[in-house]
Point group: C3
């Protein structure tokens, strides 16, 4: 469990590098990421390479015992390259090129850019193939950032046609699978299929979904190109990529197949302002929303079922959210512990030092732009010291939350209600699990499920026979399955299934969906569950139980009233619950609490918002994302690794505002006083 930092020596005078390295070592930093966005300084003109500065920087860091992670610098091709080969630029949906001037303007499908990528990556890899300080690589940077997964250029148009030909073999098959008779949309050939450019009404949902898949696959291919080049040179290097948080358009499951190490970039006070529906509280502006953050930890940990890294950890105030408050005292330390509790093995702060020029001047570093220590430096040093002794094994989660990006893309293109957001809906269930201290693996639906006591699938929207069989096998083996709204609405081509929803899952569920409806926020939506009244939001289904029992009925006014809303089916040796609404938090807590109890999963009572516990390898991290101190009761004599025991009997632990405690016990041993 360790700490690192992202460093740009090329931004600073050569004479400062030694003191930077010394200061890093003193903070307990182990890893240093280098060379991101460095193409223009590595190759200032075509074929003229300048590696000396990088050689030297690695040497200076290595001399302090620091380990180096290098980046392929492809996120920012130099201007000379763009001017020479302008065909590498992406195009917006209306054909406007995405020009030079920031980053990520290159097209993943550009043959020219793949050629250039091969050239620079090979050259770099060869240069450092034997370097003892270089331990691994990050490919490019944040694939897809700034809405760049999807491109509408000529190269993409041609590649899309090829991708479709590969998938469907004949154009007749495509026409049949998509259902192109609707609105006379039959295609005479694969060449005739274009990316979804501006057209008067909505595009065909099957075309949209395949375009989103194709765009995703283009990134996967492009990443694989990097991975292959690097591994060819030195197969002991790890190959990593740094993903983003709450990010829709790129399928991390698919990219991860080509990675040794999955990492992501965590900016809690930014995310809470622009990737979440609710307005942030002041505490959230100071430290973020722990469930929003850990949902990404658990997602990326789940991609390869392995410890992950935070490749970029927020170091202080950041520039890109709407507002930029200062994090609470200790928040930068808190985030490192929180990540570790959820399975991170290393947390690298972005970045060493605030930059004087360019787009990120308003983004803090561990050091101020004048070189002095900033608030994050002290937090990072403390976290490094505390984590140094804690070597814990991989997280072992009892619950799986099923998530497929393709479902997200399908729902996004047909939300059917302005506020139906696939990810917010998933988060409703995730929060209810985390509120009870349960560790959750967020995994692809086709992952092996046998080790999970409970499987929660908020929206398996696109359902195939194979996927239905996989879930059915799980329940047959005694598993407990909790399904949410809009599950099984479509087949994998984004058409309606032959039969009623949930299509191939109907048998297992023991019920079908009779009707669905959506509402504006102004309408009161409610149901009665187990004799108690609860609210739900946005989405309502009328269920038609066959073998299943009705466990909740709608109380929403009018024709909705008295229709079955939630059903439960004691199927095979397990159970299936189907929730035909988007539950508000209280209802989610109840449904999930009942499911955990049925499945026999150890959990806590519902914890207060902002206070979260997570167990990893016999250690429980108590992370306090609020400005109020808390005291916890723990079993007498509980060892306390981080935090302070209040009494001599070691049966309480104090946690500061924005503080953390690490105690050696089970998660259900911990109680808020």
């Amino acid at each position: 469990m360790t700490i690192g930092v992202c460093y740009f020596p090329e931004h600073w005078p050569r004479e400062q590098w030694e003191s930077d390295a010394t200061n890093m070592a003193e903070a307990g930093i182990e890893y240093v990421r280098l060379a991101e966005f460095s193409w223009a300084v590595l190759e200032p003109e075509r074929g003229h390479f300048e590696f000396d500065w990088l050689d030297e920087a690695i040497e200076v860091l290595g001399a302090q015992g620091l380990k180096v992670v290098l980046c392929t610098p492809t996120a920012t091709p130099p201007k000379w390259l763009v001017d020479e080969r302008p065909e590498i630029l992406q195009a917006d949906i209306d054909g406007t090129p995405r020009h030079f001037g920031s980053r990520r303007f290159y097209c993943f499908n550009s043959p020219a850019y793949r050629e250039e990528t091969d050239r620079i990556v090979s050259r770099l890899a060869e240069r450092y193939g034997d370097n003892p300080h270089v331990v691994g690589w990050q490919t490019d940077n944040e694939f897809g950032c700034h809405r760049t997964v999807r491109c509408y250029c000529e190269d993409c148009s041609a590649a899309f046609s090829d991708w479709l030909a590969e998938k469907y073999d004949t154009i007749e098959t495509l026409n049949e699978r998509w259902g192109t008779t609707f609105w006379s949309q039959r295609y005479p050939s694969f060449e005739a299929v274009d990316p979804p450019q501006p057209t008067p009404a909505d595009h065909h949902p099957s075309l949209l979904l395949d375009y989103y898949r194709f765009a995703n696959d283009s990134v996967v291919d492009y990443n694989r190109l990097h991975a292959n080049l690097l591994r060819e040179v030195n197969d002991e290097w790890f190959v990593a990529h740094n993903f983003m948080g709450d990010f829709e358009t790129l399928d991390a499951h698919a990219v991860a197949d080509d990675l040794d190490l999955v990492t992501w970039d965590s900016y809690p006070t930014g995310f809470v302002q622009d990737r979440r529906e609710d307005d942030p509280t002041l505490d959230e502006l100071r430290a973020g929303d722990p469930d929003q953050v850990s949902m990404n930890h658990d997602l990326y940990r789940g991609t390869n079922d392995a410890p992950f890294w935070v490749m970029e950890q927020q170091p202080g105030d950041v520039n890109w959210p709407p507002t930029c408050p200062q994090p609470g005292d200790g928040a930068m330390r808190l985030w490192a512990h929180h990540a570790t509790a959820h399975g991170a093995d290393a947390v690298l702060y972005f970045r060493w030092r605030r930059c004087r020029g360019g787009q990120e001047q308003y983004h803090a570093g561990l050091r101020k732009h004048d070189g002095s220590a900033d608030r994050g430096y002290h937090d990072a040093s403390q976290a490094a010291a505390e984590l140094d002794g804690l070597d814990v094994a991989h997280v072992d989660a009892p619950v799986a939350l099923l998530h497929d990006y393709h479902d997200w893309w399908a729902i996004s293109s047909q939300p059917h209600a302005p506020d139906f957001d696939y990810w917010e809906h998933l988060r409703t269930y995730y929060r209810a699990l985390r509120a009870r201290g349960v560790q959750v693996d967020i995994v692809h639906p086709e992952t092996s499920l046998e080790d999970y006591a409970l499987v929660v699938a908020p929206t398996l929207h696109l359902m195939s026979e194979e996927r239905a069989d996989h879930l059915s096998d799980y329940v047959s083996d005694g598993g407990h399955l909790l399904l949410g709204a809009r599950t099984g609405y479509k087949d994998s081509y984004n058409r309606l299934p032959d039969a009623r929803q949930p299509g191939a899952l109907s048998n297992l569920v023991g019920a079908t969906v009779d009707q669905h409806e959506s509402f504006p926020a102004s309408v009161d939506l409610s149901l009665m569950y187990d004799g108690d009244a609860y609210d739900y939001r946005t989405w309502s289904e009328w269920l038609n139980p066959d073998e299943a029992d009705v466990v909740a009925e709608h109380t929403t006014a009018g024709v909705t009233e008295a229709k079955p809303a939630i059903i439960r089916n004691e199927a095979r040796r397990g159970t299936v619950t189907y929730v035909g609404v988007w539950p508000e938090a209280e209802l989610a807590n109840t449904i999930v609490g009942d499911a955990l109890q049925t499945a026999g999963v150890t959990s806590t009572d519902v914890l207060p918002d902002g206070l979260r516990v997570a167990e990893r390898d016999g250690h429980v991290w108590v992370t306090n994302f609020t400005s109020d101190a808390v005291t916890l009761d723990v079993p007498q004599g509980t060892p306390c690794h981080v935090g302070e025991s209040k009494t001599e009997r070691n049966d309480t632990v104090d946690v500061d505002p924005f503080g953390v405690a690490v105690v050696e016990c089970r998660v259900d041993d911990v109680a808020v006083e």
Copy 2:
């Protein structure tokens, strides 16, 4: 009075067609619309026609006694045609083409597309010229949907220049009529006049208005092309088009001149969410706003002064509004009755069966996508049974509401207040008339007015001498004329008239407009009328009476206070009232109530919102768009065709939530208990 359905046999396996036809016949359906959007299956490649499937579908339906309405399939040209002749595409205002991928992307002025239209329509018409089951045609589908009346392509630029040359003869005349000296906008030739492309400030209002007229005329011409081709083959066929609701950019009066039958597409729970200013109530989400819907019935009935059809009637939940609640129980039946009361002779539900693929998966049909009966099927069957016996004559309305699309276009391009909406303003007066159970013809201002007891003209914005004379003649013959704000502000070229507003009407009105002003919603706007205080909104005029009497003075604070707001002129043998504000509902009810009384029009007391009565040929339809049951008092012994008499004396009638009653009496015989 009958029922029909829109059917797409090409979406479903051949073997299901017979059972579909049987189920239609069992429901009492008489008309089936076919072949809309079918070009790609009729002509899968150039010159290769496949009519067999359509022949067979007509035969299967005809065998059940069903009558077929065919569509010209031009709303969706096939991809092979678009790729062969890409010049047919429309262009957005900034030049971006409107691509293939949905519908309505072709330009009405494209010579290439007119050639292709001629080819497919002739071919189809000839194929079915003698078919005994085919009774008529729909041209294309919803001309102008998805903002496509106005195109900015090269073909349109050339056609606009020709249209202007035809209208103005010399460019000097155009420059003079428009007033192009302003901002140095004089044109050297007709060729030099371009469509209104992006420019730093607003475009010239006279150019805008003529461009909107030109774009409208392009659709009129294009529709005439269809009508002529069809009539050439079989002049016993009716030619119809299906218009949209609350639709601004296409002049239904002008298109209707080339039609035998006017039809429109009615989606009450959609319209109430996106074509109206106020947020919908839950009842409105379940059944729509009856006045919003019937205003379109009355508009389309008024175009040719003849019974109309609803060519597409909402069958259940729909996909395109922001949210998609389930209609109330019975709502689909209610809508058919409501349309009939307002003059519909047939109501066709859209569509037979929910589609598995394509853009409208979230749009219900009378049957579910698995083929089983959906909620709408039962409602439609009941409506068919109830309407079967009711053969009523054309609606005879005592009141005319004058409406000219050109006024709408002129106001839209210079609203002068963010919330001044021509159609909402018209609706204010329409609602006040409907709240008293009065039937209203919405007609063009130059229609013959002699049969109307009262003429209401909320905004005759563009005023010519001819139009003023026409109104003056009406009043001279004893007519009663109620005029609203912004009347007579411009001449027909969208210039200010020589004299003050209301220009050519000033004599008749006996007053002029001294000043006008507009306000944000935050300012309280009020006046005193007949000793009572009332609110108005958005728009205020200071009137300067000459011969007229002041009947209301402003009480709005500041310089507006005490200025005349409404005047009345006892002119010739009739009366003219001019309302210099946009009244709120209560004021509109009072003004309209007084006008009805002056004109001696039979009416009810003001009915509650959502409950409406309408008389057609001695039958009164009571339509309940609310979730509360109501009981009506009627004269003893009133025959009740639909609905239930509560007492033996037949002097009350019960109406269910979202229910309907049809009783044989006069509209003022009915009273809410």
Copy 3:
């Protein structure tokens, strides 16, 4: 002190010109502006000039003793010219041309358009070189209106490269000054630098700032072209330009260097609706916000330290704001007095008569479109009569408010909080000065400051050593300097300075900025100043005093609490106060009040909103922008030039709603009763 009008004789029949001229003379009008937007009538086809109408119009006006100001008609090139040389059109950021159809669509950098400009301006100037009635010129009209300062066409791209080469000499220097190593943005040549076209993320802040400077300089150059041509012909003419209010993108300080007379266009009830953060009150809808208006008076007066003109004064209702209420009775007179009090020597109403055709039909004139007198005519006549006797010297302001457009542009491209608006922030301090009746010169930071008792600099964001020395000299000479938030954050290349903020100013301030943060409006932000609690908004800095004293500490919750918020440094022979927040009005009043007291500036108590006093040359104008009458106490016997003395002792003066009084005394002699 005089009155004028803008006149378009070419819009009206020749036979009306004499009566127009007579009516002008009767109103006491002295100046008439002519020929704006007249190119198409002056040169209806290339090389065919028609000057006769203008000769005649000048003659008719001159015969009534009116003085003529002519305009170069370049804001609206004729259509024949645009069609002949379409390369003169501007381009939007995405490349879309800005077409003919309104105005201001030409590019300032187009060589073709500069050639055409030379041609028409020379020809016009020569025609009227000896005309005795023509006293001066307005260049073009409202440079930059409709967002046209910044253009993205090919000509601009080339000119930008040249401008950079001129500024930086070598591309290495540019790369170093900007800091282009960030995100691999190094440029290989000046030719390679493009305007900031669409790119996935933000553009580089140094490129943006230089592009904004370049675009501004392009307008400055283009204006100079006009000025030179005119002066060559007749160097007794004044050369003026009419600027706009609250206008960001054009540096009036820079343009003014080439002008003899600075003028601007004042539309109080429009500005209050769309160039201010708060929603307007009804009084503001009737008369505007006096501080918003006078801030522009003081800005334009300050550019050349000379009396200015209002070249266009709102005459009644106007067409372009969201809503168009009628101004209060007398408001048009009030505005003329208010302008005079702030240093105007002439106020010209826009325009003589409402226009029948074109984009400004809904814009009043002094005469209605039918030629009769409108409300503004009476107000203008009264103002002319009242001002006729009042010949007052230039305004002598004791306080300077420092403002640099480059700071505005830098902050706008990195606001760092959605509601951080440079101009609104400046206005906070300006309001506090005006609320105490203090005259303020708004001047460029490098203006000579020695005559000012107090200098207020709300945000000197870009700080150079030279600028710091200039301020330091001022304080060393005993000056009092009040600095606001975000001062000294950047160097003049928009990079962070080497040292901490406020960079080169740190020594003078005696403190540095430890941290900054921004917040959404939902968070309560507060501080304790001199024992009292106050609110602030949006922006917070934590100050780190060195020699300075802490005079306010944050009380905002969390980590912000107890950090120093405002400091004061008794430096050299003067004082420096640094305010590390954006104060709310009450805090601004207190800080500014204390600063005025320290500096010994004469002022009033805080006046009510909407009531303002201003002293010019021994005369105090009391201007009442509210609908409530007020009575003022003045020293016994005070001469009252305008307004009414209530008592025989001449010790009170009544001011009507929207009224004005002019009394001969000092500003602190006046008190609201």
